[in-house]
Symmetry: none
Subunit: 354 residues, 2 copies
DNA sequence: ATGAGACGTGAATCTTGTT
DNA sequence: TAACAAGATTCACGTCTCA
């Protein structure tokens, strides 16, 4: 591990000495005011100095510099991973294409537990994007452990969308005061999948933005060598202690983190998108005493009371709560069909994507 | 619908005339051999290195041209959607940031049934990326139907990852020979969610790469107007026939679920004017630990601190801010009733006068 | 000891209308 | 245009408190 600026430190390494680069650069978040949750508590923003850039141009220059330095130390058949959000990932992706990297995949990290959008002004930002790229367009022998991934994924090809929780609980590093050490610590599960898919035991992994050493900890556990560069001495110190405590895990334990799957939740609106229900159709309860109209936005209208299938179902029964899936029916060929059956049909259409 | 080059046709439209742009541009022109510069000259590949540079440059110029043209016709509070894959989306995203668009979200379309990766050299490419951006950074009144999407998604706010099947079966347009008409026809379910989330009935939607008219078909069904531009006469002809067969949904089915923000404002004083609260009555918080007195002028008095229900509520909690409507309660028949319920009663009175 | 419920928190470009 | 005021707004978990 080296403490220092990543471009300067990388220039000291020999060329073509690294199998894989994993980089979690600053996102250039460009936050302005403060943000409160509905309960008035303050959201702890990423306002650290290392994430501040004067302009897109400044961020681009920074990005070009470290991507160039990383490319020099990569072996000809090496690959590079970068993670980012919509704030920066498009710039990073375009620049790495310009520099001659060849994109192999973009991969979506779907968070099981993302922070909500508190003000209701956008979609909940529930994912981040990783780019996986070869050093050169004509690289043929880069490492991709296709069969291992397929075995871990219940004999299905590993997809480009990964469902992994954010880093919380005991895994999250805390200082003596109980505060998080690093504002953006990545989950080990993410690095695990990255390294299992694109490195072999004994490979050298370089992380130019080492932070608190997630890459190093997972690399050590998986029997990979690592080189980390971190500018902040506090982060580096925590990383060192953390990695020293890592014990290599058994092969069985490795399989566990990759096998997780979740049953896909089907929103009611998907029945409309999928054409199983048309806007304007009428839903009723099992006895046919209540009638509500399906609206295009995925809500119901019962005598002017509108909302989700559950809310309106509750209102129609004067109940506190209601499972709309089993309450509402639609007529098909003269018979009432519970909409839960339509949901099953959608699930079949949807196949089995994690 | 217009048949022609999108930049040329867009230049004929009036400025600030469009609410939303949905664009599905060519993903990687260099592979398809149809890459033209904005002046219509054909890009001629020479050798690999030069070809790569020339191709990205040309694609960037093409992208800049149509994004600029689209920005001119967008209303100040309009938004733009672009869909792409890792081949092009990073360049598109960086350029639209450079042009002054302000990214609101990136959204991942997760395919339920993606094509497998046959060679087993990469992850299965199971998603595409959409960028949703406002025309301007400081646009505040762009349309986002938050409450409709929340109802759609069973009372959870809509995430940035959408699970939707690809376009197959009866929805996929075929020609007389039984071959698919367009190589990349998008599913109507995807456009449904795009238009429900970011447009209102009656809005104008522009699609500069109209193809076989998915945007037009869904817009028509959802009671939105559309403008489509397509260069290929065959695609345009199929689009026209397809859209003509679409049955628009009824006005009632198109109504959007609206939240509190859309409701008329009721000053607190109206509760006193309407006789629902009497001057001198006592309000308290939900637990009954705080008590304030209602004054005839519509202000509260809590231990000598006077002001609006919000200010006094904040002071009573030692908080920065407070929604007085949900904080304060009044006793009715021995039970605490939140004053927000009284406000609803006033709204009903005002909605049905007499 | 156990369970129910309160509390805290995470890479966030997060309001709107009037004066 | 800047300042002020009204008032709308959250999901999944892990941990802690208290009965």
């Amino acid at each position: 591990m080296f403490v220092g600026d990543c471009v300067a430190e990388l220039s000291k390494l020999p060329a073509h000495s690294v199998d894989v680069v994993f980089a979690d650069p600053p996102y250039n978040l460009q936050l302005e005011g403060t943000l409160h949750r509905p309960d008035q508590s303050l959201v702890d923003a990423v306002d650290d100095a290392w994430d501040q850039f004067a302009s897109f141009e400044a961020y681009d220059a920074f990005t070009r510099a470290w991507l160039l330095a990383a490319r020099r130390v990569l072996k000809p058949d090496g690959t590079l991973w970068v993670i980012g959000s919509y704030h920066n990932i498009f710039r990073v992706g375009a620049i790495l294409q310009d520099l001659g990297y060849w994109i192999l995949n973009d991969v979506v990290w779907r968070k099981t537990n993302p922070m909500p959008n508190f003000k209701g002004r956008r979609f909940q930002n529930a994912h981040e994007t990783l780019i996986w790229a070869a050093r050169d367009k004509d690289a043929r022998k880069y490492t991709f452990n296709y069969d291992a991934l397929k075995a871990f994924n219940e004999d299905l090809q590993m997809r480009s969308d990964w469902l992994i929780p954010i880093c919380t609980g005991g895994e999250r590093l805390k200082d003596d005061a109980g505060d998080k050490v690093h504002p953006t610590q990545k989950p080990e599960g993410l690095l695990h999948r990255v390294l299992v898919s694109s490195t072999k035991p004994g490979d050298v992994v370089l992380d130019p933005f080492f932070g608190t050493g997630t890459t190093g900890a997972v690399a050590r556990r998986l029997g990979r060598h690592f080189v980390g560069v971190e500018r902040d001495r506090t982060y580096a110190a925590h990383a060192e202690a953390r990695i020293a405590a890592v014990e290599p895990a058994s092969a069985e334990a490795l399989a566990l983190t990759l096998g997780k799957k979740a049953e896909p939740r089907i929103p009611f609106g998907s029945l409309i998108e999928g054409g199983l229900l048309a806007p304007g159709e009428t839903l009723s309860d099992a006895k046919g005493t209540v009638a509500a109209v399906v609206r295009a936005d995925g809500s119901l209208d019962w005598n002017g009371i509108t909302g989700s299938i559950h809310r309106v179902g509750a209102a129609a029964q004067s109940a506190e709560a209601c499972n709309g899936w089993t309450f509402w029916h639609v007529f098909r060929e003269g018979r009432p069909v519970v909409i839960d059956d339509l949901r099953q049909a959608v699930r079949k259409m949807m196949g089995n994507p994690g």
